[in-house]
């Protein structure tokens, strides 16, 4: 911590900056725990039908949601990628990713290898970004996407369509559950980016009229595998 306290050019040193704050406060020293009442804030109970809840909230948020079985996943994927030329795939290695690659290759669709290209730029040529999720939230119909070795920040933001595959087990009830304490997970072991996606990109800046697809994808499709 010693080198943090050195001033960085035009900035103040951390010590001086914090001392200015402390001068206005009555007590200093470590505070007790902040007020908290997760029961009050919670909107969806853990025992609820999470697939149904997720599907209706995500649909309300403007996503196209379909429930599929592991057996029909391939057929569903194929039907959705009918007229597509190029995709990017941002998924953890495993049978589900293998299935996606298999379907895409069979259809003669080009897969852009974003790992070799320079950053998020790779995705600008893709028609669809296909991803799995780190989690999903039933309360708000939210997809949770984290960056990592196998996960790009661009795949779900840059292409005009985002197709997400969500296993039933990934769905948590409430934002409260998603952000519950994870003790012992130090900052540098967290993903650099975790994005909660709750619909297609939207704006209402021009006369309050709702338009989708302003910077991010205009279409978000979700296949919930049950």
């Amino acid at each position: 911590m010693s080198n943090d306290t050195a001033p960085s050019g035009p900035g103040l040193s951390r010590d001086v900056f914090v001392a200015r704050i402390r001068a206005q406060l009555d007590a200093s020293g470590p505070p007790g725990p902040p007020p908290s009442d997760s029961k009050l804030v919670r909107r969806v109970e853990d025992g609820a039908d999470l697939v149904a809840e997720f599907a209706s909230r995500a649909t309300e948020a403007g996503m196209a949601v379909e429930t599929v079985s592991p057996a029909t996943l391939r057929a569903q994927l194929a039907s959705r990628l009918d007229d597509v030329k190029r995709v990017t795939v941002s998924m953890s290695p495993g049978p589900r990713r293998d299935a996606v690659i298999d379907v895409v290759t069979t259809l003669g669709i080009e897969i852009i290898d974003w790992r070799r290209a320079s950053g998020v730029l790779a995705h600008y040529d893709a028609d669809v970004g296909i991803t799995d999720v780190a989690a999903a939230v039933a309360e708000t119909g939210t997809l949770v996407l984290s960056s990592g070795e196998h996960h790009s920040r661009g795949a779900f933001m840059v292409p005009p369509r985002h197709l997400a595959i969500v296993p039933r087990a990934a769905i948590v009830a409430d934002l409260v559950d998603l952000l519950a304490a994870e003790p012992g997970r130090p900052p540098h072991e967290r993903p650099a980016a975790t994005v909660l996606v709750s619909g297609p990109s939207k704006t209402a800046d021009i006369e309050g009229i709702l338009i989708t697809g302003v910077h991010g994808p205009g279409r978000v499709e979700v296949l919930v595998v049950v």
């Binding site: 050019g9 950053g119 650099a192």
Partner: protein, 480 residues
Amino acid sequence: MSGGPLDPPLPHRIASRAGAAGRDVQLQQFVNRATDIRDHARVEALDAAFGSRTEAVRTLAGQIKQHTLDHLDHYVGQFADAATAAGVHVHFAADGPAANEICLAIARRRGCRRCVKSKSMVTEETKLVPALQAAGIEAVETDLGEFIIQLDDDAPSHIVAPMIHKDRRAVGRAFEREIGAPYTEDPAELTAIARAHMRVQYQRADLGVSGANFLVAETGTVVICTNEGNADLSVSGPPVHIAFVGIEKLVPRLQDLPVFLKLLARSATAQPITIYTTMLTGPRRAADHDGPEEMHVILVDNGRTRLLAPDTRELLRCIRCGACLNTCPVYRKVGGGHAYGAVYSGPIGATITPLLAGLENYPDLPHASSLCGACFDACPVRIDLPGQLVRRRREMVETRVTGLLERSLMRAWAWSLRGPRRYRMATRLQRVGLRALGRAGWIRRAPPPLAGWTRERDLPVPARRSFHDWWKKRERGGRP
């Protein structure tokens, strides 16, 4: 450097802008409709989500923020440690110029030429875009509303909906003039034009600048809420990301976020949550293939420690949802934010601007409220805005920013209210005086301090007899 709508010559008089806005019927209808829709939608959304718990949820949110502010020294330190552990460079800026200078020093070291920027009120405070441009760095606002405002060399007039004062024709003209797009009034086409234009900007940029909605002390995480997705694209592509964040944005832990995420979007735009909630904990990791190589957080004070004084600390709870603007009859009547002549407008702006920039520079703002209390009812973190506005007025009297005439009249008025006989005498004097000014039942032109009233409308003359006298006579059995 002054003259922009948010940077007027001082002292600023709200009447200098509100007068014109008051006569602009189209602007009034526009702002009225936009804010009214948002105001009603907010109430419905909160009611649907929390029902009878709404009050308790808002109270909790206010308590968490207040707790964080009460121990802000601790939480700033904790954030700096955690963010540093995640690989973030944390900087400490006492004011706007220092924050900009920190940013420029990073840009110079990295040789940055082109900046894409997502919406941030703090960078409006520090006037970052002109500073970048003066240093030869091209800077593009990527939020659609902010982009249009930048093209028009205008300024945002609402915290959440920056171009609430502009219509689609203004957008069409700006796109035609500034980026050579064919003129259209169709919002979908206009949005598509902006999308195509901005995609090129994202790809060319070598610097991404953002603000933040929350900082999580426990994990060193920067949380950004947008609907468009412009923040994600602005900070994921370029090799350098710099976040400008006011110190009041801290919350203690990740588990404290849900209450704020649930309240912020509902209070701002009646959504359950913003489309994108982006949580950034450091630059790209060794195994990652994208994301910035460097991430910086500039913690900005810029007057906030002054507001941290016990009497005004609650003002720093503000999460910038804009609900108090939407519900405020004065904000609506003066045609939106520009009349306030500062970065923050509406009730929250009316109370923090004089604290940040001096009561003597903004003497009208504490009075730019009817004290109806709608803002207090709307605030998701329960800031007593009417109470704070009254305190600003008291401070104006105490520091003699309020003129001698007004102070003397108010003192006389206060004296007259201290006993029934005094009161009756004072009202009699008032009645006689006002009746002397009137003609045919109306006062068309009164001397100061009533001149302000009669400039815009006539004042009816008071009745010949007071209700009190009338009642007394009636009780005595006389003819009323």
